[in-house]
Symmetry: C2
Subunit: 227 residues, 2 copies
């Protein structure tokens, strides 16, 4: 594990009073404080991938705050840890949303520390995809200190176990990216539980855990073969 600088980074976010942002650089680092310094290199290679890691790690998926319908807006995952009444101070009216939207948002809540760890884990995984760029030495060491030695070409879809290629990030079908952030258990957002998955695998998994998904498809194959 890395010993971190952990200085508070001030931002203009209304949610800073709930949860300050901390510098994630190693203790005693030189230069500016930074929350996502390990994404700096990836950002120069393919900005959309760095943005995706930051977004998927820290934000819930869609729920439109104005319409009570599911929609494109996102909110910080740790904000979703607050009670309905605390959220009213931030003009978030959970009771105006449909119950299924509330359930979806609450399910995606996670602590700030878990979100930081998820972003690092996803970055570590990206660098181990086929065709991925090579990380600068300092970033490699920083990430390996958390998750172990990087092995080029070792990152697989957490669901179908096929090797994932970095080039999938720029491919899209019907406007949807072919690679998504996935969860071994869909209700746990932490470093142990996240990874990348093909979009089609992620959709097929639904709200099952990966193990439940395997049991389910084994059952299907068994029934199909016994007919």
């Amino acid at each position: 594990m890395n010993e971190l600088c952990h200085e508070i980074i001030s931002s203009r976010s209304a949610y800073d009073s709930i949860q300050p942002k901390y510098c994630q650089l190693p203790k005693g680092h030189s230069g500016k404080h930074s929350e996502f310094h390990y994404l700096d290199h990836l950002r120069t290679v393919q900005k959309s991938v760095a943005d995706k890691i930051k977004r998927d790690s820290t934000m819930t998926t869609g729920a439109a705050w104005k319409s009570a319908e599911a929609g494109p807006n996102r909110i910080l995952r740790w904000v979703m840890l607050l009670s309905d009444s605390d959220l009213k101070h931030y003009e978030i009216q959970m009771d105006k949303l449909k119950p299924q939207v509330v359930a979806k948002l609450r399910e995606k809540s996670a602590t700030y520390d878990d979100c930081m760890a998820v972003a690092k884990k996803l970055t570590w995984l990206v660098y181990q995809m086929n065709e991925a760029p090579k990380p600068p030495q300092d970033i490699r060491e920083y990430l390996e200190n958390y998750f172990g030695k990087m092995v080029s070409g070792s990152t697989t879809c957490i669901i179908c176990k096929e090797k994932l290629s970095f080039s999938l990030f720029s491919k899209a079908q019907r406007g949807k990216a072919e690679i998504e952030t996935g969860h071994i258990s869909p209700r746990e957002h932490n470093a142990e539980n996240v990874g990348f998955a093909h979009r089609e695998c992620n959709i097929a998994q639904g709200n099952k855990t990966v193990l439940e998904f395997y049991d389910w498809i084994r059952g299907i194959i068994k029934r199909v073969d016994n007919r």
Copy 2:
């Protein structure tokens, strides 16, 4: 097969000039002409199921005509057989829609006759579900003339092959019905190719054929077991 009355039933639909509606009752029937007489009994038992069969058989799934985004509006499947320029006469501007929305709509096009056959097939399948109501004798005979003898409790999910219960129609998770109309090949809307599926199975199938889906999940199981 039934020999049908096939009298034109006039309606106020703007699309009648594209495709008239035909009476589907047996030739020489008494009483009023009807396009969906075989749904009359089901409508008295559970109106939503009869409505669903009619809707899924004849209408495409959502595409909002005003926003170019996918949305809740539906259109008759046979209208989607017309060319872009013919559709302009009906104030449908295909070129204003996103390409992926157009593709989805065009994929769901089907002839009037195929849609009529699909509605009959789905009705025949519903009556063979566990816990399904018993059809009146005339409806039973009408449907059996098309698709063969009904066997109570024999309707399975076309994907996972588990038996389906009529009670699933009234169950919903997060506002979504647990049972959907499915297609063995998602791009063919005809009686041979349709059936019912669990919502989760239908989602997992995606735009694969059922056979492609089985091959895909067999591959997953193989990779998981070899690790």
